[in-house]
Protein backbone atom coordinates (compact mmCIF):
# COMPACT_ATOMS: atom_id res chain seq x y z
CA UNK A 1 0.00 0.00 0.00
CA UNK A 2 2.20 2.80 -1.22
CA UNK A 3 0.99 6.32 -1.81
CA UNK A 4 2.25 8.92 -4.24
CA UNK A 5 4.80 10.13 -1.69
CA UNK A 6 6.92 6.99 -2.06
CA UNK A 7 6.25 6.11 1.59
CA UNK A 8 3.98 3.37 2.86
CA UNK A 9 0.31 4.18 3.65
CA UNK A 10 0.33 6.43 6.72
CA UNK A 11 4.15 6.50 6.64
CA UNK A 12 4.91 3.53 8.94
CA UNK A 13 5.75 0.16 7.44
CA UNK A 14 3.20 -2.59 8.03
CA UNK A 15 5.44 -4.53 10.43
CA UNK A 16 5.78 -1.52 12.67
CA UNK A 17 2.04 -0.91 12.57
CA UNK A 18 1.40 -4.49 13.62
CA UNK A 19 3.79 -4.06 16.55
CA UNK A 20 1.98 -0.88 17.60
CA UNK A 21 -1.43 -2.51 17.21
CA UNK A 22 -0.31 -5.31 19.49
CA UNK A 23 0.68 -2.71 22.06
CA UNK A 24 -2.69 -0.98 21.64
CA UNK A 25 -4.56 -4.25 22.12
CA UNK A 26 -2.65 -4.92 25.29
CA UNK A 27 -3.35 -1.38 26.46
CA UNK A 28 -7.06 -1.81 25.83
CA UNK A 29 -7.02 -5.09 27.71
CA UNK A 30 -5.40 -3.48 30.77
CA UNK A 31 -7.01 -0.03 31.00
CA UNK A 32 -4.61 2.66 32.20
CA UNK A 33 -1.54 0.44 32.10
CA UNK A 34 1.44 1.88 30.23
CA UNK A 35 2.58 -0.58 27.56
CA UNK A 36 6.17 -0.11 26.38
CA UNK A 37 6.47 -0.16 22.60
CA UNK A 38 9.24 0.19 20.04
CA UNK A 39 8.55 3.81 19.25
CA UNK A 40 10.03 4.83 15.90
CA UNK A 41 11.69 8.03 14.92
CA UNK A 42 9.13 10.05 13.03
CA UNK A 43 9.72 12.94 10.67
CA UNK A 44 8.23 15.24 13.31
CA UNK A 45 10.18 16.09 16.46
CA UNK A 46 9.75 14.25 19.75
CA UNK A 47 7.44 16.18 22.02
CA UNK A 48 5.41 17.36 19.05
CA UNK A 49 3.01 14.46 18.89
CA UNK A 50 5.08 11.52 17.64
CA UNK A 51 3.28 9.12 19.98
CA UNK A 52 -0.14 10.23 18.84
CA UNK A 53 0.96 10.13 15.21
CA UNK A 54 2.23 6.56 15.51
CA UNK A 55 -1.01 5.47 17.17
CA UNK A 56 -3.10 7.21 14.54
CA UNK A 57 -0.95 5.78 11.74
CA UNK A 58 -1.50 2.28 13.12
CA UNK A 59 -5.28 2.49 13.44
CA UNK A 60 -6.18 4.65 10.43
CA UNK A 61 -7.65 3.13 7.26
CA UNK A 62 -8.39 4.68 3.91
CA UNK A 63 -12.09 5.13 4.79
CA UNK A 64 -11.37 7.04 7.99
CA UNK A 65 -12.06 10.73 8.43
CA UNK A 66 -9.42 12.47 10.50
CA UNK A 67 -9.68 15.55 12.68
CA UNK A 68 -6.59 16.99 14.38
CA UNK A 69 -6.76 19.57 17.14
CA UNK A 70 -4.23 21.35 19.30
CA UNK A 71 -5.52 23.41 22.23
CA UNK A 72 -8.99 22.55 20.99
CA UNK A 73 -8.49 24.27 17.64
CA UNK A 74 -7.98 22.84 14.15
CA UNK A 75 -6.02 25.85 12.95
CA UNK A 76 -3.11 25.87 15.36
CA UNK A 77 0.22 25.31 13.64
CA UNK A 78 0.97 21.84 14.95
CA UNK A 79 -2.55 20.59 14.23
CA UNK A 80 -2.16 21.84 10.68
CA UNK A 81 1.20 20.12 10.35
CA UNK A 82 -0.08 16.75 11.60
CA UNK A 83 -3.30 16.89 9.55
CA UNK A 84 -1.22 17.57 6.45
CA UNK A 85 1.13 14.75 7.31
CA UNK A 86 -1.74 12.26 7.14
CA UNK A 87 -3.42 13.90 4.19
CA UNK A 88 -0.12 13.48 2.36
CA UNK A 89 1.02 10.03 3.53
CA UNK A 90 -2.40 8.34 3.84
CA UNK A 91 -4.53 10.39 1.50
CA UNK A 92 -7.44 10.24 3.96
CA UNK A 93 -10.29 12.70 4.20
CA UNK A 94 -9.90 15.31 6.91
CA UNK A 95 -12.49 17.35 8.72
CA UNK A 96 -12.85 20.02 11.32
CA UNK A 97 -16.21 18.72 12.54
CA UNK A 98 -16.09 16.56 15.64
CA UNK A 99 -19.25 14.72 14.58
CA UNK A 100 -17.87 13.81 11.15
CA UNK A 101 -14.53 12.46 12.36
CA UNK A 102 -13.85 8.77 12.96
CA UNK A 103 -10.43 9.49 14.45
CA UNK A 104 -9.58 12.64 16.37
CA UNK A 105 -5.98 13.25 17.29
CA UNK A 106 -5.68 15.79 20.05
CA UNK A 107 -3.19 17.73 22.05
CA UNK A 108 -4.40 19.21 25.35
CA UNK A 109 -8.21 19.04 24.89
CA UNK A 110 -11.20 16.76 24.62
CA UNK A 111 -13.81 18.16 22.23
CA UNK A 112 -16.88 19.75 23.84
CA UNK A 113 -19.23 17.85 21.52
CA UNK A 114 -19.84 14.45 23.17
CA UNK A 115 -18.13 11.57 21.38
CA UNK A 116 -20.01 8.50 20.23
CA UNK A 117 -19.37 4.80 19.89
CA UNK A 118 -16.97 3.93 17.10
CA UNK A 119 -14.96 7.12 17.36
CA UNK A 120 -11.32 6.99 18.46
CA UNK A 121 -9.73 9.83 20.39
CA UNK A 122 -5.93 9.76 20.15
CA UNK A 123 -4.09 11.81 22.77
CA UNK A 124 -0.55 13.09 22.35
CA UNK A 125 1.27 12.47 25.61
CA UNK A 126 4.48 14.23 26.64
CA UNK A 127 5.12 12.44 29.97
CA UNK A 128 3.03 9.31 30.55
CA UNK A 129 4.17 8.52 34.09
CA UNK A 130 1.88 10.04 36.77
CA UNK A 131 4.41 9.27 39.50
CA UNK A 132 7.32 10.87 37.65
CA UNK A 133 7.71 14.03 39.74
CA UNK A 134 7.49 12.04 42.92
CA UNK A 135 9.80 9.24 41.86
CA UNK A 136 12.20 9.82 38.95
CA UNK A 137 13.20 6.15 38.59
CA UNK A 138 11.41 4.07 36.00
CA UNK A 139 12.40 0.83 37.74
CA UNK A 140 10.72 2.08 40.92
CA UNK A 141 7.57 3.57 39.35
CA UNK A 142 6.88 0.37 37.45
CA UNK A 143 7.04 -1.48 40.74
CA UNK A 144 4.70 1.04 42.34
CA UNK A 145 2.17 0.49 39.55
CA UNK A 146 2.51 -3.27 39.82
CA UNK A 147 1.72 -3.05 43.52
CA UNK A 148 -0.84 -0.23 43.18
CA UNK A 149 1.34 1.60 45.70
CA UNK A 150 -0.13 5.04 45.09
CA UNK A 151 -0.15 6.65 48.54
CA UNK A 152 2.51 9.12 47.52
CA UNK A 153 0.17 10.61 44.91
CA UNK A 154 -2.18 11.74 47.64
CA UNK A 155 0.81 13.20 49.49
CA UNK A 156 1.05 15.73 46.71
CA UNK A 157 -2.65 16.56 46.88
CA UNK A 158 -2.37 16.83 50.67
CA UNK A 159 0.47 19.31 50.25
CA UNK A 160 -1.62 21.41 47.88
CA UNK A 161 -4.47 21.66 50.34
CA UNK A 162 -2.18 22.33 53.30
CA UNK A 163 -0.49 25.13 51.40
CA UNK A 164 -3.23 26.61 49.23
CA UNK A 165 -6.45 25.40 50.77
CA UNK A 166 -7.28 23.53 47.58
CA UNK A 167 -5.82 21.04 45.12
CA UNK A 168 -3.61 23.20 42.94
CA UNK A 169 -3.41 21.05 39.83
CA UNK A 170 -5.26 22.56 36.91
CA UNK A 171 -4.22 20.30 34.04
CA UNK A 172 -2.80 16.80 33.54
CA UNK A 173 -4.81 15.99 36.65
CA UNK A 174 -4.18 12.35 37.71
CA UNK A 175 -6.96 9.79 37.42
CA UNK A 176 -7.53 6.24 38.54
CA UNK A 177 -8.69 4.05 35.66
CA UNK A 178 -11.01 1.10 36.18
CA UNK A 179 -10.24 1.14 39.93
CA UNK A 180 -6.73 -0.08 39.24
CA UNK A 181 -4.13 1.97 37.38
CA UNK A 182 -3.12 5.53 38.12
CA UNK A 183 -2.95 7.41 34.82
CA UNK A 184 -1.97 10.80 33.46
CA UNK A 185 -4.65 12.06 31.12
CA UNK A 186 -2.00 14.10 29.23
CA UNK A 187 -2.06 17.89 29.74
CA UNK A 188 -5.77 18.35 29.16
CA UNK A 189 -7.37 20.85 31.56
CA UNK A 190 -9.04 19.17 34.52
CA UNK A 191 -12.22 20.65 33.03
CA UNK A 192 -12.04 17.77 30.53
CA UNK A 193 -11.41 14.99 33.06
CA UNK A 194 -15.10 14.13 33.62
CA UNK A 195 -15.49 13.58 29.87
CA UNK A 196 -13.12 10.60 30.05
CA UNK A 197 -15.39 8.75 32.46
CA UNK A 198 -17.69 6.20 30.77
CA UNK A 199 -16.98 7.74 27.39
CA UNK A 200 -18.49 5.72 24.50
CA UNK A 201 -15.42 6.38 22.33
CA UNK A 202 -12.12 4.51 22.50
CA UNK A 203 -9.42 6.69 24.04
CA UNK A 204 -5.82 5.90 23.07
CA UNK A 205 -2.74 7.62 24.45
CA UNK A 206 0.62 7.67 22.67
CA UNK A 207 3.92 8.87 24.14
CA UNK A 208 6.57 8.65 21.42
CA UNK A 209 9.69 9.87 23.19
CA UNK A 210 8.86 7.90 26.33
CA UNK A 211 7.82 4.88 24.22
CA UNK A 212 4.56 4.09 26.00
CA UNK A 213 0.99 3.48 24.84
CA UNK A 214 -2.03 3.29 27.13
CA UNK A 215 -5.77 3.25 26.69
CA UNK A 216 -9.17 3.83 28.20
CA UNK A 217 -11.65 1.48 26.47
CA UNK A 218 -15.23 2.65 25.87
CA UNK A 219 -17.43 2.88 28.97
CA UNK A 220 -14.59 2.64 31.46
CA UNK A 221 -14.57 4.18 34.90
CA UNK A 222 -12.18 7.12 35.17
CA UNK A 223 -12.00 8.85 38.54
CA UNK A 224 -10.03 12.00 39.29
CA UNK A 225 -8.09 11.72 42.55
CA UNK A 226 -9.34 13.77 45.48
CA UNK A 227 -10.21 13.72 49.17
CA UNK A 228 -13.68 13.06 50.55
CA UNK A 229 -13.76 16.51 52.09
CA UNK A 230 -11.98 18.21 49.17
CA UNK A 231 -13.76 16.72 46.17
CA UNK A 232 -12.51 17.12 42.63
CA UNK A 233 -13.99 20.13 40.87
CA UNK A 234 -13.56 21.70 37.42
CA UNK A 235 -12.81 25.24 36.35
CA UNK A 236 -15.67 27.70 35.91
CA UNK A 237 -15.72 31.12 34.34
CA UNK A 238 -17.71 34.20 35.23
CA UNK A 239 -17.83 35.00 31.51
CA UNK A 240 -19.37 33.40 28.45
CA UNK A 241 -17.75 32.93 25.05
CA UNK A 242 -17.61 36.35 23.38
CA UNK A 243 -18.28 34.77 19.99
CA UNK A 244 -20.99 32.15 20.51
CA UNK A 245 -22.17 32.90 24.02
CA UNK A 246 -21.50 29.39 25.30
CA UNK A 247 -21.40 29.17 29.09
CA UNK A 248 -20.52 25.47 29.25
CA UNK A 249 -17.26 25.30 27.34
CA UNK A 250 -13.60 25.74 28.20
CA UNK A 251 -12.65 29.33 27.50
CA UNK A 252 -9.40 30.83 26.24
CA UNK A 253 -8.52 34.29 27.36
CA UNK A 254 -7.65 36.65 24.52
CA UNK A 255 -5.86 39.92 25.19
CA UNK A 256 -7.48 42.53 22.98
CA UNK A 257 -5.40 45.61 23.76
CA UNK A 258 -2.58 46.75 26.00
CA UNK A 259 -4.86 48.48 28.49
CA UNK A 260 -6.05 45.30 30.20
CA UNK A 261 -8.85 44.63 27.75
CA UNK A 262 -9.62 40.96 27.32
CA UNK A 263 -12.37 38.65 26.19
CA UNK A 264 -13.01 34.95 26.56
CA UNK A 265 -13.67 32.64 23.61
CA UNK A 266 -14.26 28.90 23.23
CA UNK A 267 -11.05 26.89 23.06
CA UNK A 268 -12.91 24.31 20.92
CA UNK A 269 -13.14 26.14 17.59
CA UNK A 270 -15.50 23.59 15.98
CA UNK A 271 -17.92 23.77 18.89
CA UNK A 272 -17.89 27.57 18.74
CA UNK A 273 -18.39 27.69 14.97
CA UNK A 274 -21.23 25.17 15.17
CA UNK A 275 -23.05 27.31 17.73
CA UNK A 276 -22.68 30.47 15.71
CA UNK A 277 -24.32 28.63 12.81
CA UNK A 278 -23.36 28.04 9.23
Amino acid sequence: MTTATGYNFAYLDEQTKRMIRRAILKAVAIPGYQVPFGSREMPLPYGWGTGGIQVTASVIGSADVLKVIDQGADDTTNAVSIRRFFARTAGVATTRRTTEATIIQTRHRIPETPLREGQILVYQVPIPEPLRWLEPRESETRKMHALADYGVMHVKLYEDIARHGRIATSYDYPVLVNDRYLMRPSPIPKFDNPKMHMNPALQLFGAGREKRIYAVPPYTKVVSLDFEDHPFEVQRWDDCCALCGAADSYLDEVITDDRGGRIFVCSDSDYCTGRIGP
Binding site: L147, G151, V155, K156, Y158, E159, A162, F227, E228, H230
Partner: protein, 258 residues
Protein backbone atom coordinates in the same frame (compact mmCIF):
# COMPACT_ATOMS: atom_id res chain seq x y z
CA UNK B 1 -2.86 -16.09 75.17
CA UNK B 2 -0.21 -15.78 72.46
CA UNK B 3 1.28 -19.16 71.79
CA UNK B 4 3.26 -18.15 68.71
CA UNK B 5 6.01 -15.55 68.66
CA UNK B 6 5.52 -12.42 66.54
CA UNK B 7 8.78 -13.01 64.75
CA UNK B 8 10.64 -16.30 64.49
CA UNK B 9 14.15 -16.34 63.09
CA UNK B 10 15.82 -19.66 62.31
CA UNK B 11 19.29 -20.32 60.93
CA UNK B 12 19.57 -16.91 59.34
CA UNK B 13 22.86 -16.33 57.50
CA UNK B 14 24.05 -13.80 55.03
CA UNK B 15 27.34 -14.01 53.18
CA UNK B 16 29.06 -11.50 50.91
CA UNK B 17 31.10 -13.82 48.74
CA UNK B 18 33.54 -15.36 51.20
CA UNK B 19 32.88 -12.79 53.88
CA UNK B 20 30.36 -13.45 56.61
CA UNK B 21 27.72 -10.79 57.18
CA UNK B 22 25.91 -12.76 59.85
CA UNK B 23 25.70 -16.47 60.55
CA UNK B 24 23.26 -18.94 62.10
CA UNK B 25 21.05 -16.47 63.90
CA UNK B 26 18.08 -17.94 65.82
CA UNK B 27 15.66 -16.11 68.04
CA UNK B 28 11.98 -15.52 68.78
CA UNK B 29 10.46 -12.14 69.40
CA UNK B 30 7.17 -12.01 71.33
CA UNK B 31 4.46 -9.37 71.05
CA UNK B 32 5.35 -6.28 73.07
CA UNK B 33 8.93 -7.38 73.49
CA UNK B 34 11.97 -5.24 72.67
CA UNK B 35 15.09 -7.03 71.52
CA UNK B 36 18.40 -5.19 71.54
CA UNK B 37 21.24 -6.18 69.22
CA UNK B 38 24.62 -4.75 70.20
CA UNK B 39 28.11 -5.01 68.80
CA UNK B 40 30.82 -2.88 67.24
CA UNK B 41 30.56 -1.64 63.70
CA UNK B 42 31.27 -4.54 61.36
CA UNK B 43 29.84 -7.07 63.81
CA UNK B 44 26.99 -7.86 61.42
CA UNK B 45 24.15 -6.24 63.34
CA UNK B 46 23.08 -3.98 60.48
CA UNK B 47 23.18 -6.87 58.00
CA UNK B 48 21.01 -8.84 60.40
CA UNK B 49 18.55 -5.96 60.74
CA UNK B 50 18.34 -5.58 56.96
CA UNK B 51 17.55 -9.28 56.60
CA UNK B 52 14.99 -9.25 59.40
CA UNK B 53 13.19 -6.26 57.95
CA UNK B 54 12.97 -7.79 54.49
CA UNK B 55 15.29 -5.35 52.80
CA UNK B 56 18.11 -7.79 52.10
CA UNK B 57 17.57 -11.44 51.17
CA UNK B 58 19.50 -13.85 53.41
CA UNK B 59 21.80 -16.53 52.01
CA UNK B 60 20.10 -19.12 54.22
CA UNK B 61 17.49 -19.39 56.95
CA UNK B 62 13.96 -18.20 57.55
CA UNK B 63 12.18 -15.22 58.99
CA UNK B 64 8.56 -15.92 59.91
CA UNK B 65 6.06 -13.33 60.98
CA UNK B 66 2.69 -13.83 62.63
CA UNK B 67 -0.08 -11.82 61.00
CA UNK B 68 -2.98 -10.22 62.84
CA UNK B 69 -5.18 -13.19 62.03
CA UNK B 70 -2.69 -15.52 63.70
CA UNK B 71 -1.37 -17.11 60.50
CA UNK B 72 2.36 -17.24 59.90
CA UNK B 73 4.16 -16.09 56.77
CA UNK B 74 7.70 -16.69 55.58
CA UNK B 75 9.04 -13.26 54.80
CA UNK B 76 11.16 -14.24 51.83
CA UNK B 77 8.75 -16.76 50.38
CA UNK B 78 5.88 -14.29 50.20
CA UNK B 79 5.27 -12.28 47.04
CA UNK B 80 6.68 -8.76 47.01
CA UNK B 81 3.29 -6.97 46.91
CA UNK B 82 2.32 -8.63 50.21
CA UNK B 83 5.71 -7.92 51.72
CA UNK B 84 5.42 -4.26 50.78
CA UNK B 85 1.93 -4.08 52.20
CA UNK B 86 3.22 -5.61 55.41
CA UNK B 87 6.01 -3.05 55.51
CA UNK B 88 3.66 -0.12 55.33
CA UNK B 89 1.05 -1.46 57.73
CA UNK B 90 2.29 -3.89 60.36
CA UNK B 91 5.92 -2.85 60.28
CA UNK B 92 7.90 0.29 60.75
CA UNK B 93 11.54 1.10 60.21
CA UNK B 94 13.35 3.90 62.03
CA UNK B 95 16.56 4.71 60.18
CA UNK B 96 19.67 6.02 61.84
CA UNK B 97 19.64 8.98 59.47
CA UNK B 98 16.10 10.37 59.55
CA UNK B 99 16.58 11.71 56.03
CA UNK B 100 16.51 8.11 54.80
CA UNK B 101 13.07 7.62 56.26
CA UNK B 102 11.49 10.98 55.49
CA UNK B 103 10.41 12.82 52.37
CA UNK B 104 12.47 15.95 52.76
CA UNK B 105 10.57 17.79 50.03
CA UNK B 106 7.11 17.72 51.63
CA UNK B 107 5.73 19.11 54.88
CA UNK B 108 5.89 17.37 58.24
CA UNK B 109 2.13 16.79 58.11
CA UNK B 110 2.35 15.07 54.74
CA UNK B 111 5.23 12.95 56.00
CA UNK B 112 3.16 11.67 58.88
CA UNK B 113 0.00 11.33 56.79
CA UNK B 114 1.58 9.35 53.97
CA UNK B 115 1.18 5.90 55.50
CA UNK B 116 -2.47 6.60 56.20
CA UNK B 117 -3.05 7.64 52.59
CA UNK B 118 -1.10 4.62 51.39
CA UNK B 119 -3.61 2.33 53.08
CA UNK B 120 -6.54 4.16 51.54
CA UNK B 121 -7.54 6.90 53.97
CA UNK B 122 -9.09 9.69 51.92
CA UNK B 123 -10.42 12.24 54.38
CA UNK B 124 -8.12 15.25 54.47
CA UNK B 125 -9.31 16.55 57.82
CA UNK B 126 -8.92 13.20 59.53
CA UNK B 127 -5.49 12.61 58.05
CA UNK B 128 -4.36 16.04 59.14
CA UNK B 129 -5.87 15.50 62.55
CA UNK B 130 -4.01 12.23 62.98
CA UNK B 131 -0.78 13.89 61.86
CA UNK B 132 -1.26 16.71 64.35
CA UNK B 133 -1.96 14.28 67.17
CA UNK B 134 1.19 12.34 66.36
CA UNK B 135 3.33 15.45 66.19
CA UNK B 136 2.10 16.29 69.65
CA UNK B 137 2.97 12.80 70.90
CA UNK B 138 6.53 13.22 69.68
CA UNK B 139 6.69 16.72 71.15
CA UNK B 140 6.72 18.74 67.96
CA UNK B 141 4.79 22.01 68.15
CA UNK B 142 1.48 21.99 66.29
CA UNK B 143 2.49 25.16 64.48
CA UNK B 144 5.27 23.31 62.66
CA UNK B 145 2.93 20.89 60.87
CA UNK B 146 3.18 22.64 57.49
CA UNK B 147 6.92 23.28 57.69
CA UNK B 148 9.35 21.29 55.59
CA UNK B 149 11.59 18.87 57.47
CA UNK B 150 14.59 20.76 56.10
CA UNK B 151 13.84 23.45 58.68
CA UNK B 152 13.93 20.94 61.57
CA UNK B 153 16.82 20.21 63.93
CA UNK B 154 18.41 16.74 64.06
CA UNK B 155 16.44 15.69 67.14
CA UNK B 156 13.16 16.94 65.66
CA UNK B 157 13.83 15.07 62.43
CA UNK B 158 14.29 11.83 64.34
CA UNK B 159 11.06 12.43 66.27
CA UNK B 160 9.26 13.23 63.03
CA UNK B 161 10.49 9.98 61.55
CA UNK B 162 9.18 8.12 64.57
CA UNK B 163 5.76 9.75 64.21
CA UNK B 164 5.70 8.90 60.51
CA UNK B 165 6.55 5.30 61.32
CA UNK B 166 4.11 4.80 64.18
CA UNK B 167 1.07 6.59 62.73
CA UNK B 168 -0.21 3.46 60.98
CA UNK B 169 -0.15 1.48 64.22
CA UNK B 170 2.57 -1.05 63.38
CA UNK B 171 3.04 -4.11 65.59
CA UNK B 172 6.75 -4.39 64.99
CA UNK B 173 9.34 -1.65 64.62
CA UNK B 174 12.94 -1.99 63.51
CA UNK B 175 15.29 0.71 64.76
CA UNK B 176 18.81 1.22 63.48
CA UNK B 177 20.86 3.31 65.91
CA UNK B 178 17.86 5.53 66.64
CA UNK B 179 19.93 7.95 68.71
CA UNK B 180 23.04 7.90 66.54
CA UNK B 181 24.34 11.26 65.41
CA UNK B 182 22.47 13.22 68.10
CA UNK B 183 23.82 15.33 70.98
CA UNK B 184 23.88 13.60 74.35
CA UNK B 185 21.13 15.79 75.84
CA UNK B 186 18.95 15.26 72.77
CA UNK B 187 19.62 11.51 72.94
CA UNK B 188 18.31 11.29 76.50
CA UNK B 189 15.09 13.05 75.62
CA UNK B 190 14.55 10.88 72.56
CA UNK B 191 15.18 7.70 74.54
CA UNK B 192 12.64 8.78 77.14
CA UNK B 193 10.12 9.44 74.42
CA UNK B 194 10.79 6.11 72.71
CA UNK B 195 10.50 4.19 75.96
CA UNK B 196 7.18 5.86 76.69
CA UNK B 197 5.80 5.12 73.23
CA UNK B 198 6.94 1.50 73.16
CA UNK B 199 5.37 0.88 76.57
CA UNK B 200 2.13 2.76 75.86
CA UNK B 201 1.58 1.12 72.49
CA UNK B 202 2.78 -2.32 73.52
CA UNK B 203 5.10 -2.34 70.51
CA UNK B 204 7.49 -5.10 69.68
CA UNK B 205 10.82 -3.79 68.46
CA UNK B 206 14.26 -4.81 67.31
CA UNK B 207 16.82 -2.15 68.19
CA UNK B 208 20.30 -2.24 66.74
CA UNK B 209 22.89 -0.08 68.45
CA UNK B 210 26.47 0.10 69.59
CA UNK B 211 25.35 2.12 72.61
CA UNK B 212 24.71 -0.05 75.67
CA UNK B 213 22.84 2.80 77.38
CA UNK B 214 20.20 2.61 74.66
CA UNK B 215 19.54 -1.09 75.19
CA UNK B 216 19.71 -0.75 78.93
CA UNK B 217 16.81 1.68 78.72
CA UNK B 218 14.75 0.15 75.89
CA UNK B 219 15.42 -3.55 75.53
CA UNK B 220 14.00 -6.43 77.49
CA UNK B 221 16.38 -8.89 75.96
CA UNK B 222 19.78 -8.57 74.38
CA UNK B 223 21.95 -10.28 71.77
CA UNK B 224 25.65 -9.47 71.60
CA UNK B 225 27.15 -9.88 68.13
CA UNK B 226 30.71 -10.28 67.06
CA UNK B 227 32.04 -11.16 63.60
CA UNK B 228 28.58 -12.01 62.37
CA UNK B 229 27.68 -14.36 65.20
CA UNK B 230 25.73 -14.04 68.41
CA UNK B 231 28.21 -14.61 71.25
CA UNK B 232 25.84 -14.01 74.14
CA UNK B 233 22.10 -13.54 74.61
CA UNK B 234 19.73 -13.13 77.53
CA UNK B 235 17.75 -10.68 79.62
CA UNK B 236 19.26 -7.22 79.28
CA UNK B 237 20.04 -6.64 82.93
CA UNK B 238 21.50 -10.12 83.33
CA UNK B 239 23.79 -9.79 80.35
CA UNK B 240 24.95 -6.32 81.24
CA UNK B 241 25.38 -6.92 84.98
CA UNK B 242 26.93 -10.37 84.71
CA UNK B 243 28.47 -10.80 81.27
CA UNK B 244 29.82 -14.26 80.57
CA UNK B 245 31.53 -14.01 77.21
CA UNK B 246 34.89 -12.20 77.29
CA UNK B 247 33.79 -9.96 74.43
CA UNK B 248 30.67 -8.87 76.32
CA UNK B 249 32.82 -8.27 79.36
CA UNK B 250 35.06 -6.07 77.28
CA UNK B 251 32.09 -4.14 75.88
CA UNK B 252 30.60 -3.57 79.32
CA UNK B 253 33.90 -2.60 80.91
CA UNK B 254 34.76 -0.18 78.13
CA UNK B 255 31.48 1.60 78.78
CA UNK B 256 32.14 1.70 82.51
CA UNK B 257 35.55 3.21 81.95
CA UNK B 258 34.31 6.08 79.81
Amino acid sequence: MNETPLLRVTGLSRYYGERVGCRDIDFDLWPGEVMGIVGESGSGKTTLLDCLSGRRPPSAGRVEFTLRDGSQVDLFAMPEPRRRLLMRTDWGIVHQNPRDGLRMGVSAGANVGERLMAVGRRNYRQIRGAAAAWLEKVEIEAGRIDDQPTTYSGGMLQRLQIARTLVSGPRLVFMDEPTGGLDVSVQARLLDLLRGLVTDLGLAAVVVTHDLAVVRLLAHRLMVMRRGEVVEAGLTDQVLDDPHHPYTQLLVSSILQT
